[in-house]
Each structure stands twice: as C-alpha cells, then as structure tokens.
C-alpha cells in the first residue's frame, strides 16, 4: 500500500479547554423553542448571507442600546454568526480591507483569540492587562497601547474578562477610550457575557456604549452562548459601527463576500430562539430575571469561596475572588499548585489557575476551599 498523501500531517495539539460541560437550559429558551416547533408554517429555507434580519436588529439594539444614535443613523451593520465566527469574520474583513493589519490582544486572553486572528491573516501583538501581584488590572501596562501604531486594532473584553475576571472601572474605561481615540486605534470588542456578568444587561454593555457615544467607529462581536445558554446553537453577531451610513453599506457588502465562501449563510435555529425572546416584552423580562439569577448565583459562589478561605485562614489576600467579575476567577495559583489540586483533590481547572465559578455549588465550595488551602500550604 502506498504512503498516505497525508503522511506528513502532524498531530495538532489538543484544544486546552473544550471538553465536558453541563449548562443550564433556560426556561424562556425552552418556551421559545416550543413555540418555534409548534409553528407549522415555519420553513427551513436558506437565510440571507447576513442572517435573520430581525435577529440582527435586535442584537444591535441589545448591545448598543435601543436609542443608540449609531443605530438610528443607520451607521451600524450587523451580521449573524457564532461568537467565535464573529471574531473570525470581523478579523478576515479587517485583514482584507483595513490599512492596519496588527491587532493588540490583552495579556492574558481567551486561548482561542490568537489563533482566530492569526489564521484570519492579522498579525497579533499583546498589551499588558493582568497584574499578578495585585491580581487586578495592570492599568499602567495599558501604556503598551500608547505605543501602538496609529490605526492599530485593539481587542477589548466588553465585560467579565476571560480568563481573569478583572474589568476596568468606569473611570478607567473612560481613560482607555480617550487614549485609544487620541491614537486613532480601532476598538474590537468581544462581548460574551452581557447580562451574565453583573446581572444587568445595560450595565454590562457600558464599555461599548461609552465608545459608540463619542461618534467613533468600532467592531463588536456578541455571543449568546452563555447569557442565553445557547452554546451549541452557535448564536452571536458581529456589528461594525461606522462613521456614516454610506460606509456601513459598503462594509456590509464586503462582509458578505467574506461570509459566502466561508459558510454561505448562517444556521437558523439559534437566532430564531433569540429573536423570539428579544421581541416579546414578557419573554424579554423573563430572560432578564433568569439572567440575573444566574449572575447572582455566581456572585454568591464568589462570596462563599472567599468566606471559606478566610475561615480556614488560608495564607494570602483572596479579595480578588470577590472583586473579579463573571464566570471566571484567576486564582493566582501556579501550575504546580493546580496539578496538586487535580491529583489530590480531583479539582479540574486550567493550568493558568483559572476556575470557572459556574462549576461550583454551595455543596462543593468547601471542598474547593480545602483544596486551595492545602495547595497553598504544601506546594510552592
């Protein structure tokens, strides 16, 4: 038998994160799905390249605010893609049509970001973001943005930074905005946790709306994976806020040319669920209530873990657990300590010390606290 033509293909490394997960299915999502299934008039014809129009408009309103001048002035173009897909489509569009091909990503960031941007054809650099000594924001590290070339693209996590859980304050966001606008840097927001971070949809969109309010341009990738629990349905949106309606129209036409050879048009099921919920006042309210409950649960886990560590007298300052926001906490534990916790206590977490608070319950918090306590005391 002759050699495989793929003989020289090497084994790619396993993705560090994707594995098991047992997310919650929201009641309002079940309701919406039942409505869709029961509607016998629904067909499965191809969507337009940009996706479901309803969904696109509603998503833009959700992130930018219903009264956003950018929307009213038709300066926003929105396409439906998954969260990851929004990043990739946006990046491919920039790689082809934007004059600056470098994107600055925060250090650290979601593991998939560098791969998405690199394969899209952008050159990736980073800016300092996390300060391990304070387990908070390295605000002076944002000087790295100050030395970026004019026009460079900057990736910003809209809220609930992944993996650190560290977000700038409102004042700090304003300073970041001024710095970026003065240098002509192009913001590319990744918004994966709107509503899921603080429990308030508007508050969690605050950073993006601050930038849009100054009349400037930006990109925003949204995901409904977490905040609507629609992980497997692949629902999200890419919005590009432009200076003028004319530019927005041209940008949309070019986005279509990126999308068509990539996947032709997007899946219908997920955005239909989202549109059903967003356009119905009662369902929207029900969703916000469920979302707040999810966010509150996570906030409560943070508090419980912090209290448990204090009660055990675990050495160190653990206040970052309650200062950080969103699904993840950067504990500050090192790889040896993490390995210890996995081996001795069967705690599974990423080796950078990140834990998903969503994976905790009141029942399991004491076990985690014991593990951290033991790790800190026995492993350097």
């Amino acid at each position: 038998m002759s050699d495989s033509v793929f003989a020289s293909v090497v084994q790619a490394p396993e993705d560090p994160i994707l594995g098991e997960g047992k997310p919650l299915v929201l009641n309002v999502v079940r309701k919406a799905e039942q409505m869709l299934v029961n509607d016998q008039s629904r067909v499965k014809e191809y969507l337009p390249i940009t996706g479901l129009a309803d969904f696109n408009k509603l998503s833009a309103k959700l992130i930018f605010g219903a009264n956003s001048p950018a929307i009213q002035e038709n300066r926003v173009t929105t396409v439906h893609v998954s969260g990851t897909g929004s990043l990739r489509v946006g990046a491919e569009f920039l790689a082809r049509h934007y004059h600056e091909k470098t994107i600055y990503i925060p250090q650290p960031t979601w593991g998939n970001h560098p791969k998405v941007f690199t394969l899209a054809g952008l050159s990736v650099k980073s800016y300092r973001y996390y300060d391990p000594s304070t387990r908070g924001l390295d605000f002076s590290g944002l000087e790295d943005l100050g030395s970026a070339p004019s026009g460079a693209i900057v990736l910003l996590h809209a809220c609930a930074h992944n993996p650190t859980g560290v977000d700038p304050t409102s004042d700090q966001w304003e300073q970041i905005r001024q710095l970026m606008r003065s240098k002509g840097l192009l913001p590319f927001f990744d918004s994966a946790y709107q509503g899921f971070a603080s429990g308030n949809l508007d508050a969690d969109a605050g950073s993006i709306r601050l930038f849009v309010a100054d009349g400037g341009e930006c990109l925003a990738a949204q995901s409904y994976a977490k905040n609507m629990g629609l992980y497997g349905e692949r629902v999200g949106a890419l919005s590009i806020v432009c200076k003028t309606a004319d530019v927005a129209t041209r940008v949309e036409s070019q986005l279509k040319l990126v999308i068509r050879p990539m996947y032709s048009n997007p899946p219908i099921h997920g955005p239909s669920i989202v549109a059903t919920i967003l356009k119905d006042g009662d369902m929207y309210t029900e969703w916000s209530v469920e979302l707040k409950a999810m966010a509150d649960r996570i906030i409560s886990m943070r508090q419980q873990l912090y209290d448990a560590l204090c009660a055990r007298g675990t050495p160190g300052d653990w206040s970052h657990i309650i200062k950080q926001i969103g699904m993840f906490t950067f504990t500050g534990l090192n790889t040896n300590q993490v390995a210890f916790m996995t081996k001795e206590y069967h705690i599974y977490m990423t080796s950078d010390g990140r834990i998903s608070m969503a994976g905790l319950s009141s029942r399991t918090v004491p076990h985690l606290a014991d593990a951290i306590h033991a790790a800190v005391n026995s492993v350097a």
Binding site: S2, G21, V25, Y46, K115, G232, T249, R250, H269
Partner: protein, 371 residues
Amino acid sequence: MRTSMMSSIGMGAEEPSVGISEAFGADRHEMKLELGLGAYRTEDLQPYVLNVVKKSCLVLGRTGCHGAGYFRNRLSAACCCAHTQTFSCFQDSHIIPTWGNHPNILNDAQLPWSEYRYYDPVTVGLDFQGMISDIKAAPEGSFVLLHGCAHNPTGIDPTPEQWEIIADVIQEKKHIPLFDVVYQGYASGRVEADASSVRLFAARGMELLVAQSYSKNMGLYAERIGAINAVCSSPDSAQRVKSQLKRLARAMYSNPPVHGARIVTNVVGNSDLFSEWEEELQLMAGRIKSVRKKLYDCLNAKDKSGKDWSFFVKHIGMYSYAGLNEAQRENMRNKWHVYMTKDGRMALTGVSQAKCEYLADAFIDSYHNAS
C-alpha cells in the same frame, strides 16, 4: 467630524442570485417562473419541510435535548475515516462549469486552482474526452473536485463506466479526489445509487475527501448541516488529519451548530425514520423527474424542427443547463418572464406540471427566434 477609518472600502459585488430573486419578486406577470433558486419546491411551488424532520423536531422539543453543551466532533477511526461535522466548507481545484461559489472558496482558502473541461455545448452533455485529457494533464498529486452526483449547474453526470475511467486516471496520476456530495438520494431518489461514484473510488482503497450536505436531501437548508470526511490509508493518518481539521474549525467557528445535526442523527439513526426519509426522497426526486418528462413531451409535441430536447430527460437532479445563449436567455426573461441564472442554469424545482406547456413554448420561441 474625522473621516471614517474605513472610508476607502469599495462596494462589494452583489451575490448573483439576489438580483434574480428581486426581479422575480417585482414581476407581476401571472405565468412568471423562478428557475434561479437552488431549493426544492412542491408541485404548488412551495418550500417543503420533510415529515421526518418535523417528527424529529417534535421529539427534540419534547425531550428537551437542545442547546446542551458544545457539540463534540464525531470520529470513526475504525473505518480509517476522519469526519468532522462542519458547516459546509471545503477547498479545491475544479471543473468548468461548477457551482458559482467554488472558485470563491478556493481563492479565500488560498488554494491555487485551474479548470478541466466538462460541459459540451454541442451535445448539451459531458465532454468526456476533454475531462479525461485535462485531468491527465494536471500535475501529479493534484486535488480534483468531482460532483458526486447531479452535477451543479449542468445536471450532467458521468456514466458508471465513465466513472471507472475517471478513477483509473486519477489513480494513475496519484491525484486526490475531493467529492462534493450535495444531492445524495435527491438525484435518483435512492441513497445508495447516488453514492456509487464515491463508493467506487473508496472501494479501490483510494484516499479521498468527501464534503456532504443535508441542505437539499433533508431540506435542512438553513440549519447548515453537512460533513467533511477524509478517507485515509491508515487510522494514524486519519487521527492526525482529524486533529488538524479540529484546529482549523476551532479558529473559525469553535464548534458546529447542534440543531441540524440532531435532526439528521435522529433520522439516519432510526430505521423507521430512515425508511420514511427514503420514501420522501423518492417523492422529491420523482417530482423532478416527472417534470423533466412532461417538459420533454411538451417540447417534442410542439417543436417540429427536429431539435433534440432529450437532454432534459438525460440530465439528473435539480438543475439543467438548457444550452441557451445570452440573447435566448434574455428572451426567456423579458418576453416569457422565466428567470434563470446568468450562466443558463435552470432549476426544475421551480416548475410544476401545470406550467410545463408554457415553459415549452418559451423554450421553443427563445431557441428559434432569439439570437
């Protein structure tokens, strides 16, 4: 106000089918026909959601198995085949003519491509000698894009004997076949028969890539469900290929949409639903075949010039290249309100039995009187 950072961006060319749909939508003529679309229609020219799909959706709705977690890639290493559920994405070198999006896909994937002859306008059939000769002339180890069945846009497929010869040449030149299989079951009405070209190659132990789509054969257009299969000569190769496919998928869209996949799994994995699916496929393919026959009969009855219209019944699948030139196509559209794509492809799904006579009149008039 500062100028836009994107002010130099030009307007991108519109998707060709959009113009047709819009023009058709604006047309008020009672006999108008939309032959540009690429989707199945019933005899009433309405979209069709398969019964097996409706049943699956109800089952999925009741059991609440939805949205739960990211959908894992499926792999079957045992048959030396790595397959990953994807949207529909693939890369390669291609035929003329071929689906309009193939060149765009290859360009964006930065895969250099060239063409091999396929369509013979004189016979309105396959240019088999041209095809074989061009594939032979390609540098050794090239990828060769092949349509598994029901070639889009021509409707012209090689015969089983011709497929054997194509496989011979590809093997001899150590080329790698990439099959685009969009119409399995939807072409002949039989799932097994429509896969015979792919199976012929696989049976020879050849390595190949196969892109599948369930858009047409399960009517799941908007669910975006298909698969890329890589048949390799060893489980080890298959493993490595799969790992690279995952890496590409992760940086493109992370993981695929679950809904359509669940429907397909439900139907294909349940023997009763599978049988019911095959019956629905026969209905759909049967309707298209009967439209072809009716159109052909009408053309024969009305056109006494001796022109051979039999290509309509020799072609297979949803599409036919009608062999009309630009002036003739314009006549179809402007005088007869019959819309087809610019390259002359017509979708028989847009035709009902009741409209065959009118369509025949349109063809006869356009063919003979427009130049």
